[in-house]
Symmetry: C2
Subunit: 334 residues, 2 copies
Amino acid sequence: MQRALSIRSSKSTRSTSGNSPTSTSHSRTTKSSGGRGGFSLSSLRGSIQPELSKRLYRLIKSENNLISSYEAAGKERLSIATQLSEWGEHTNDEAISDVSDKVGVILSEIGEQEDNYAHALDESRGVLKTIRNTEKSVQPSRDGRNKLVDEIGKLKSKEPESARLVVLEQELVRAEAENMVAEAQLRNITRQKLKEAYQAEFLATIERAEKQVILAKHGLRLLELLDDTPIVPGDAEPNYGQSGQARQILNDAEDDLRDWRLDLDGVLGGTGGKSESPAREEDHKEEKVQDENTSPVATTGQQGEQQTLAPAPTMSGGNGNGGLNMQKVASVGV
Amino acid sequence: MQRALSIRSSKSTRSTSGNSPTSTSHSRTTKSSGGRGGFSLSSLRGSIQPELSKRLYRLIKSENNLISSYEAAGKERLSIATQLSEWGEHTNDEAISDVSDKVGVILSEIGEQEDNYAHALDESRGVLKTIRNTEKSVQPSRDGRNKLVDEIGKLKSKEPESARLVVLEQELVRAEAENMVAEAQLRNITRQKLKEAYQAEFLATIERAEKQVILAKHGLRLLELLDDTPIVPGDAEPNYGQSGQARQILNDAEDDLRDWRLDLDGVLGGTGGKSESPAREEDHKEEKVQDENTSPVATTGQQGEQQTLAPAPTMSGGNGNGGLNMQKVASVGV
């Protein structure tokens, strides 16, 4: 494995074809208006990202390209599968016609798995958006605190006796309290959602891979039915009597796919992972309660996210399994 | 598995932005000039395909799109991996920084596997070209025979006593003999190469999948190192002491990838496959000898293919393993 991961891209994110730098004021408006409903993605899209969220904003865009690649691969596979079957039919060779048709079925199902994978990646991408939205909502809090520190510094050097200093210092104490909460929320959300997003991605990777192994192995069995012993010109073509077997191989593949279950035995808990899973689950609950009480910002972020994601389940409808796996693993203690 | 594979595309292949319909005359020229060297791909590319090879010509084009999709996915993964690592560093959270960096390494290696897969598909695509080239070379033989049959038919109805009929019927006997050889060559090459191409493709699918399962499982272990228990605002961040374990997980992943071997036990030979593999291998040799003696057309096709494929190994250099697997399976008796 090469490890060239300390390269840093020097480009600034300015390039995002932005309207005006309204994102910061947006977040502020949201906060002052009670923190509800202001975070719909459409109103932020295309605007310049605050420093804190620009890296994740870019990463989420790249994830989109990745997803498109897999969608394209899935579509192309289906098309190739159909073409292979049609080509086989036109060879007027019974064995090739049957095997190519059935290999086509296997290939199209491999393509289907790419498409499911794309949907699962899209869900994982949605989880990353929660982090990005929280980052975005924490930026004004940092900015506000820093502005006060600057102001106090300037005033102290110019009018050290100013009465405004007392007021500003009171404001700073309030801003620091507010920011402390914001940073803790950011830290908590980031860890939880980072873990959640990439767990989903790795589980989807395992699911796609294991199902494609099943399919490819049955594909190899199908190819075994094609006798490629050469015939001498003029010799009669031996009869092809394998179509029943070919059909059976497809049935086997179907059964194996249906019986597939995620098996993470030996993966987790083994090496130094933490084994306090029930405690962890409680922690989650606690944290939610805490959020509701003390953190309008994070709650807004999450609600905004839910609104944004509302159409996603329809879009990624095929991915019921991905969700199921996540739950399974959660109960295993990830 | 859905089975919508009997759909037939009604489009004609005319759309290939062609120069002039020179392909048929091309093949003829090739044949009359001794059948050597005329089949370089560059001289045929973009020309209208003869009926016999147009389906496979299209399929091979589609395979190219598929390969591009996987190449794109591989590149995007590498980019996302780097971005994730950089983002993590800027969170100023030691645990997130370390875990995101190492998850990035895993993701980039998953991307690397997509790229290897693309190269393997490209080799499989090269094998399909051998079939297509043979199809192309057989078309003039069919056309020549059919033309003679037509001519004889017309002449019989117009001038049944014509002396030319005798000559034409002699020509037809020769053309039919030639065509019989051509059709047998086509049948043999098609079966062999179809099997070879999709065996390579399925083996590459298995290799990619199994390696990605290894990587994803270690990725899940890495995520386990990230403690997502929420902290209360103002609480000190617990120390992150897992970087040694994280490093170890990457080492484990590296070891597991290096130790990976293709294992097809129980896949082949089990259900009704043929078990006469040594005999089969001899057959191949026989067929080659036969080709050299009796079939200038097929030999040309193969040589042309070799010329065409000459630069391919450089392009798909990363895929030494794919080839290795094929040999392994061949000796297992595929």
